[in-house]
């Protein structure tokens, strides 16, 4: 696999992967800041306001028309948590000029567009445009209020919130509803300036280009301040669980959502990380895993029963949708699977299947520009650069004893259940 070429321009780190494999250029800008109660809400609001207009394209409609003119360039953003950081990610993808009769160089235009969005917004004196700020405050509110609509995600987030009640990680990446009203166009602009000064900034480009070309284009496209890049702090993944938290919440639902939160004590930087990936894979990452086989196939209790590993925070979460009356049985069966992992009931077949699946995933991600970017960014985020090929080798070398060692360190922290309003 070809690797990213690295560069730096003032506060931005540049990562460019020259390849002719795609019909597009994929661009991502990551801006990360430590997750903090005081800043989480205004920082979440920033990308919403920035995508309304720039100094050059002040009207939202002309801003969006520009994207259509660039052959429907994709433009979007996301705000999420990784480890103890709140990350704002802007994404653009635009087709390679070779496929269309375009008079404008599409990569240059796209980087200019992104540069304007992030570094040359529409301003009124020392504040953002007040109409856009007020409208996007409403949008952000709606987004936070809408979390409850998708019960599967709602339950997953509530479980994390309960589990991490004493850590910044309890915060939702989109911030707090109650803090939105007090944000003003001026206070937001102040926050924006700080954010540009402090955030870790990483710009990725994948496509038929070079680091030299991207460096040149970014120099013109971004209004950058002097300075050097910020780095991410490494989160502490060691957390002693005193007693298992049990939370039941009631709502008008047809199906119960059962979520369990586990602490693995293993982070992305640790040598045990490949074994933790194997632990999660055998427990519940796949349709051949213990949770799927025992909760769904053997007992017909659920349609989905799976686990997910968060290496940046050292968590493993389990989620399943069950009938309300089956709560006790489902919890018992899930705990049995955790115990079985600890006891080392790991068959040769499970081991081989899981290694094959993880390896496949690591090879497949090299076919997608955005997945390559996301994978590489793990290295930036943690300071631990482990190529997909290296991780693949490390996973292949994991032994049952390594997995049992991870299992012994796994602590059940929280059991969260979303159920109906009828009393049992």
């Amino acid at each position: 696999m070809t690797t990213f070429e690295r560069g730096q321009l003032q506060r931005i780190r540049l990562h460019v992967l020259p390849t002719k494999r795609f019909k597009t250029f994929a661009i991502s800008l990551f801006a990360g800041l430590t997750l903090d109660e005081a800043t989480v809400t205004p920082v979440a609001l920033l990308p919403f306001v920035l995508r309304r207009g720039t100094a050059d394209l002040p009207e939202t409609i002309s801003f969006r028309e520009k994207l259509d003119d660039l052959y429907g360039a994709g433009f979007g953003f996301d705000v999420y948590k990784r480890g103890d950081s709140q990350i704002v990610q802007f994404r653009m993808d635009v087709i390679n000029d070779a496929f269309v009769s375009s008079s404008t160089p599409l990569l240059a235009e796209s980087l200019q567009f992104l540069g304007d969005v992030v570094t040359d917004p529409l301003l009124e004196k020392d504040a953002f445009n007040s109409k856009y700020v007020e409208a996007e405050k409403v949008t952000l509110k709606k987004r936070l209020e809408a979390i409850v609509n998708d019960k599967i995600r709602y339950a997953a987030e509530r479980c994390l919130e309960e589990m991490c009640a004493d850590e910044p990680y309890r915060l939702h990446p989109l911030g707090k509803l109650a803090e939105i009203d007090s944000i003003t166009p001026a206070s937001l602009y102040e926050q924006y300036e700080q954010w540009l000064d402090q955030a870790a900034l990483d710009l990725y480009v994948v496509g038929d280009t070079t680091l030299a070309e991207v460096t040149e284009l970014v120099t013109h496209a971004f209004k950058l301040k002097e300075g050097s890049p910020s780095t991410y702090a490494t989160p502490n993944v060691h957390h002693k669980v005193k007693e298992v938290k049990q939370v039941t919440e009631r709502m008008e639902v047809s199906q119960g959502k059962l979520n369990l939160g586990l602490r693995t004590g293993v982070g992305y930087v640790d040598d045990e990380y490949p074994a933790a990936l194997m632990y999660n894979g055998i427990l519940g990452g796949y349709p051949h895993s213990k949770l799927f086989l025992n909760v769904r196939e053997k007992e017909s209790l659920a349609y989905y029963a799976a686990s997910r590993l968060d290496g940046h925070k050292g968590l493993c979460t389990i989620q399943s949708g069950i009938e309300f009356a089956n709560y006790d049985r489902a919890v018992v069966i899930i705990k049995e699977q955790l115990e079985s992992m600890r006891a080392g009931n790991l068959s040769e077949l499970e081991l081989n299947q899981t290694k094959a699946m993880i390896s496949n995933h690591l090879r497949e991600l090299q076919d997608s520009a955005y997945e390559m970017i996301a994978y590489d960014f793990n290295g930036v985020l943690t300071g631990k650069h482990r190529s997909a090929d290296q991780l693949l080798e490390q996973v292949q070398a994991v032994t049952p004893a390594d997995i049992v060692k991870v299992a012994e360190g796994v602590q059940l922290d929280t059991i969260y259940f979303l159920r109906d309003r009828k009393e049992a």
């Binding site: 002719k20 494999r21 939202t60 052959y71 087709i95 599967i152 709502m251 390896s359």
Partner: protein, 428 residues
């Protein structure tokens, strides 16, 4: 083996129809690690009344195509997911209105995985016990969707649009309908719709075309399929009108969800004509209500829509309708403002600049789609089952004129043909 060159998108496709009727398409993607394969039958949730040759037509319970999809993964030797996992492949399947698709993606052991895919789909194994066991799992799947407001508002709309056509039936059926399913019915549906002549194998990724064809030919030669007469599908006459003008569902939601659907009176298009109508309609909708349209901005500024607002167009020979909507503080105001804006557009036509921009956007979107093996396989199969070619889409977008779009605008937006589906907070 037929070679199909598409120089404008720099792709080459290889195609062969085997003696038993199975159509095989291979699209080699240079430099890709991954191979993605789909094995699809032209059989979905709408095919609930059918016959083969001169057989007596049969009616089967709602949700049976989806039930069958679940049950195909069980073999006498156990669960087929385990075999795929041992071969490093991630496998899945889904059932839509008009097709059932089995798939895997893998970076190694491609030949073994292809054999596994073909063999498990061509080897049904249903017993009374395993059919019964599946009912509990599918009940939970149905309940999961019942709690999902996006799903409910969307399927609520289709239910409001159609009186008779089975597109209005939930793909998974209901808890009651799936209880009626037994193994004999599953075998009957299987024998009817899983004949190779009703199926398409699509392989895309880092493969050599001739190797794939050789493997599939050898695999099929070793199996015996009697030739099958044509399948007849029966649909009751669908009235032009919508069934319910306004359908309201209560679920806990932060804001009401509101979707507007316009039902085309003219159904029955096939092949190229169907594809052309789809392209024209999508372009028209994009120009009228896409994110860069005046209407979108107007509704956003009136706080009537959010980023969830979108549109789509769904069409096949038996049904065709648009879906427009998202979260809104006021369904009534949204409908009213939408209506007056559409009426203005009906009088003035689509703005030429908006038309040109939307065309560029659609062409760009189409080319971007070609980066994704999953999207290529999915779209190619969808179009192929409607007797059209996905690779014609680009040309149709390029040739579409503003006159086509305006004619379509006036034909499609007939407010007599409007149904509205709303999901809102329970009143109490």
């Amino acid at each position: 083996m037929q070679t199909l060159n598409y120089p404008n998108v720099q792709e080459t496709l290889y195609r062969e129809v085997l003696d038993n009727g199975l159509e095989v398409i291979v699209l080699p993607k240079e430099g890709f690690n991954k191979t993605y394969a789909t094995f699809s039958t032209k059989y979905g949730s709408v095919d609930n009344h059918f016959s083969v040759g001169s057989q007596t037509p049969a009616k089967v319970p709602d949700g049976i195509a989806h039930f069958l999809e679940h049950k195909m993964f069980e073999e006498p030797t156990g669960d087929i997911f385990a075999v795929f996992a041992s071969q490093g492949a991630s496998a899945n399947a889904f059932t839509s209105f008009d097709r059932t698709v089995y798939l895997f993606s893998a970076t190694e052991q491609i030949h073994a995985n292809l054999e596994t895919l073909i063999n498990f789909v061509q080897n049904p194994y249903f017993t009374d016990t395993n059919v019964d066991k599946e009912k509990g799992i599918i009940e939970q799947e149905i309940n999961m969707y019942r709690d999902n407001p996006d799903w409910r508002v969307y399927f609520g709309l289709i239910d409001a649009l159609y009186h008779k056509h089975p597109v209005h039936i939930d793909i998974a059926g209901t808890v009651d309908s799936i209880r009626q399913i037994d193994k004999e019915m599953l075998y009957q549906c299987y024998e009817t719709f899983y004949h190779p002549s009703n199926m398409l194998l699509f392989v895309v990724g880092g493969v050599q075309a001739e190797e794939v064809f050789q493997l599939v030919r050898d695999n099929q030669k070793a199996k015996n399929f009697e030739p099958q007469d044509a399948i007849s599908r029966y649909f009751d006459d669908e009235p032009d009108s919508v069934k319910i003008k306004r359908k309201v569902t209560e679920l806990p939601v932060s804001l009401p969800k509101c979707m507007l659907g316009f039902k085309d009176k003219r159904a029955g298009l096939t092949g190229e004509a169907l594809l052309r109508q789809e392209v024209t309609t999508k372009l028209m909708l994009e120009a009228l209500i896409g994110p860069s349209s005046k209407l979108y901005q107007q509704l956003y500024e009136a706080d009537l829509i959010s980023d969830s607002f979108g549109h789509e167009y769904n069409s096949s020979t038996g049904y065709s309708f648009s879906v427009i909507g998202g979260d809104t503080r006021s369904p009534d105001e949204l409908i009213e403002q939408f209506r007056s804006a559409v009426e203005a557009a009906l009088a003035s036509g689509i703005e030429p600049t908006a038309f040109e921009r939307s065309k560029r956007k659609k062409i760009g979107g189409y080319l971007r789609m070609l980066n994704s093996p999953e999207a290529i396989a999915g779209e190619f199969t969808r179009y192929r089952f409607r007797d059209s070619d996905m690779f014609d889409v680009l040309d149709f977008y390029e040739k579409c004129t503003i006159e086509d779009v305006n004619a379509r605008l006036r034909e499609h937006f007939d407010f007599e043909q409007l149904a509205v589906s709303i999901v809102e907070q329970p009143t109490a």
